[in-house]
């Protein structure tokens, strides 16, 4: 029975000293593709029914959403009790754990168990499903957040009586990552799952409408095997027709289904519209806006396309062969004559005009195709080679690609070629948010242009998304989300590898992570990391870690400090004076044992000591040179003593002469007197 309290047993993992998670007691009915579910227990309130979701490594949990949802008691949302990282023995690393109040009525749709959605009458659907959903959507809208995981398999009966539906977890994976294409608006459905972006509340409303339509029909969202056909159907006939058109829908629900499944996000019902509908005010059902069809099809790689949006999708699917087929004014002519859209035709001509064989144009061919796709379908995601990403989806796609060995190069290339800017330029209406995001993308391009350590694509990942943990191989197993977690993670790494580990403690990921997360100025030190001088580079690393330790106040980092003391040899060699070097070599292990990186940095990088060493060395060089020249002159017989001997001899002779004079005067005087 789903409402039976599953008691955990076996080994225990503790979250924040309060929640016990039982790795040996999985709860598959609550699992999602990106997270496993396990029995859990609240030590303070043992009667509370909770379970834990353990996010699989490689998935980026949405911490911004988690921060807001923690402790929120909303009629339409599964209550998040606690979240945080835990040591997870089955994975041998730290993972993100989310503890939720257990929905006691089970999942609304469970394809594994073969359970079907029991038909409810219209009133029950309104009361038990739509009303709590509207409450959840209103809350999310008020918080400027989106759920992006509204689907039948992630909807649960909150109580054993099954009188209220709640949306399940939304934070264990990037937005809409696990959503079936059928439940997403067309533009989101044709994006890569990780690149669908946070979107707006309109996306959630659509997903809810689509879920509701399928639940009423008892259809499985996964049953739509031909995604392309479904998307083309949605584009041409509208989503309502694609998802509910063939079924007999309850009359009372047609209005809300049409409103929520409207393909134009500006016309789609918002939460206020849904609220009005709930309170009994009936609105005129929205009539789907049919995409303008051409009088003749545009043929591309053997397929015929009758609308501009479909053609854009077709071009993206035959990327490499597309340019030859749309060039030579073919697309321009089709847009002018078949679509009667002279404005778009001119814009396309501007992109495709000129000599196609010009080397510069060939290099920019991919960018040109991407821009043509944007012109043909402004609502669609940015498409570039094999990439298809919503403009706000970069921040999720990039870390997922980086963590799972995806095609990071193409993503970086699309950012370098300023495709987000081109996307914003094709917007029909001005939106001030777009200017802010465009400016953000310009900043990211600056990081990509610099490329040196502390910048590059790694910096872009951490700058764009604060939910991304540090992906450095050294600390990835420690799930470092914030600066204060970095040093303990490095300390754990140092402990595993031993004090004599020759690797350097800061790689491109750690440098970029620190640069993006630090709320103090680290740019100068980060700049020193890219120097070719090993001593300076290591010193910059030690200084950076010392600054972090000083700021966050973490102590007891013995292993890390011992490791730093070991690799600091080139920095010690930066001192010329051998006595100073010896003194440092004796002092470093002492500082290492104390776990004090700040002291280590002070020992190695004191400006006074460095200045004295440099001055002393300059004086020593001069003294050495003079002594060497003298020795050489003596040995080789080049030393000319005659001049000096003549001078000294004359002086001595004068001295003797004057002495004789005085003696003579004295003797003569004495003789005179006596």
């Amino acid at each position: 029975m789903p409402n039976d309290k599953e008691k955990g047993s076996g080994a225990v993992v503790t979250l924040r000293d309060r929640f016990l998670i039982f790795p040996a007691t999985p709860l598959p009915q609550f699992a999602t593709p990106s997270a496993q579910a396990f029995a859990a227990e609240d030590r303070r309130e043992r009667d509370k029914e909770v379970f834990a979701l353990i996010v699989k490594p490689g998935y980026t949990a949405r911490t911004q959403l988690l921060r807001v949802l923690k402790g929120v008691d909303n009629a339409g949302l599964m209550t998040l009790v606690e979240w945080g990282t835990v040591d997870w023995p089955p994975a041998g690393r730290k993972v993100m754990a989310l503890v939720y109040m257990k929905p006691l009525g089970g999942c609304v749709w469970d394809p594994k168990a073969g359970a079907a959605f029991k038909r409810l009458d219209e009133g029950e659907i309104t009361r038990k499903v739509i009303a709590p959903a509207v409450a959840a959507l209103k809350f999310l809208r008020a918080q400027s957040l989106t759920h992006r995981a509204i689907r039948p398999t992630n909807m649960f009966w909150a109580t054993p009586e099954r009188d209220r539906v709640v949306f399940g977890d939304a934070a264990a994976a990037p937005p809409a990552f696990e959503q079936p294409a059928a439940l997403e608006p067309v533009e989101s459905a044709i994006s890569m799952p990780a690149g669908r972006g946070d979107g707006t509340i309109a996306n959630d409303i659509y997903s809810f409408g689509a879920s509701l339509a399928l639940l009423i029909q008892n259809r499985d969202a996964a049953a739509f095997s031909n995604e392309e056909a479904l998307n083309r159907h949605k584009m041409v006939m509208g989503s309502y027709s694609a998802l509910a058109g063939e079924a007999r829908m309850p009359l009372a629900l047609v209005e809300i289904l049409r409103g929520t499944l409207c393909d134009d996000p500006n016309e789609r019902w918002d939460t206020e519209g849904m609220d009005l509908w709930l309170s009994g005010r009936r609105l005129t059902p929205l009539v789907p806006r049919i995409e303008k069809r051409a009088v003749r099809a545009f043929s591309l790689s053997g397929k015929d396309y009758m609308t501009a949006r479909e053609l854009a999708m077709g071009i993206a699917s035959v990327w490499d062969a597309a340019l030859a087929q749309i060039g030579e004014s073919k697309l321009e002519t089709w847009l002018t004559r078949a679509m009667d859209n002279k404005g778009k035709a001119e814009a396309v001509a501007g992109l495709l005009g000129g000599d196609a064989m010009d080397p510069e144009r060939r290099t920019a061919a991919d960018t040109t195709i991407a821009k043509v796709c944007m012109l043909l379908d402004p609502m669609a995601p940015i498409r570039y080679k094999n990439l298809s990403v919503m403009v706000d989806g970069y921040r999720w796609l990039l870390p997922m690609a980086m963590a799972n060995g995806g095609d990071v190069r193409t993503i970086a290339e699309s950012l370098m070629r300023e495709l987000p800017k081109a996307w914003y330029e094709t917007r029909e209406a001005y939106n001030p948010d777009n200017s802010v995001m465009d400016s953000g993308f310009r900043t990211q391009k600056g990081y990509l242009d610099r490329g040196v350590i502390g910048n590059g694509i790694e910096r872009v990942v951490y700058e764009m998304n604060e939910s991304v943990p540090c992906l450095s191989p050294m600390v990835v197993e420690e799930y470092v989300l914030e600066m204060r977690d970095l040093l303990p993670a490095l300390n754990a790494y140092a402990k595993r590898k031993g004090d004599t580990n020759p690797a350097l403690p800061i790689d491109r990921h750690i440098a970029a992570f620190v640069a993006a997360r630090a709320n103090f100025d680290v740019e100068r030190i980060i700049g020193d990391l890219s120097t070719n001088d090993d001593g300076r580079k290591i010193m910059a690393m030690i200084n950076l870690l010392a600054m972090i330790q000083w700021r966050v106040g973490v102590t007891g980092l013995t292993s890390l400090t011992m490791w730093l003391a070991h690799i600091a040899k080139p920095a010690v060699a930066g001192f010329h004076n051998r006595d100073k070097r010896k003194e440092l070599e004796e002092a470093l292990p002492r500082a290492g044992k104390e776990g004090n990186i700040v002291e280590l940095s002070r020992l190695l990088d004191s400006a006074d000591e460095r200045g004295a060493d440099i001055r002393g060395f300059e004086e020593a060089k001069q003294a050495w040179l003079e002594a060497y020249r003298s020795v050489r002159d003596i040995v080789e017989g080049h030393e000319d003593l005659r001049e000096e001997a003549a001078k000294t001899g004359a002086q001595i002779a004068s001295l003797i002469s004057i002495t004789i004079a005085f003696v003579a005067i004295s003797v003569s005087l004495v003789r005179m007197i006596f």
């Binding site: 004076n577 050495w624 002594a627 003298s630 001997a645 002779a653 002469s657 004079a661 003579a664």
Partner: protein, 164 residues
């Protein structure tokens, strides 16, 4: 440069004034100590010659000769001062072979001292060079121990420039 020229010009202007003052002072003394001046002029002629003929940079010759020269002449000068300080006695002393011989032989001794001292010093210096080279070599080693081989390498360029 202009400043330097100006300052050196100023010194040149001061030297003749000083000399002029000294000359005037001596001339003023002549009426009161003519016997002494006569004896000193005649007895100290070798010193005057040494001062005029010395072309060395240090110009120590006249001091060297003058010291011995005066040592030989001083008994006669004291006799003049403590005996009869008159021009006739001064002339008597000037014409005394014994006084002049003592004075000039002493001056010759001064010349001898002047010429013999540098070769002796040269010989001593040459003898101590080996010892100095050893001291300098140990100083080089000490510098290398204290500052490492870099101190030698960094100075090597200057040495190479020397050799070129």
């Amino acid at each position: 440069m202009a400043k330097k020229a100006k300052s050196s010009g100023g010194k040149k202007g001061q030297a003749p004034a000083g000399k002029l003052f000294m000359t005037m002072a001596l001339l003023a003394l002549i009426p009161f100590s003519l016997p002494t001046m006569l004896l000193l002029f005649a007895g100290m002629l070798p010193t005057l010659v040494a001062a005029l003929t010395d072309r060395s940079a240090s110009r120590y010759a006249w001091i060297c000769v003058g010291g011995c020269n005066f040592a030989g002449l001083c008994p006669a000068v004291l006799n003049l001062w403590f005996g009869h300080h008159e021009i006739t006695y001064a002339l008597h002393l000037v014409t005394s072979v014994r006084v002049m011989l003592m004075s000039y032989l002493a001056a010759a001794g001064g010349w001898g001292l002047y010429f013999i001292a540098p070769p002796i010093v040269l010989t001593v210096m040459a003898a101590t060079s080996k010892r100095r080279a050893a001291v300098l070599t140990s100083q080089l080693k000490k510098l290398e121990e204290e500052w490492g081989a870099e101190v030698q390498q960094k100075a090597a360029m200057a040495v190479a420039a020397d050799e070129l």
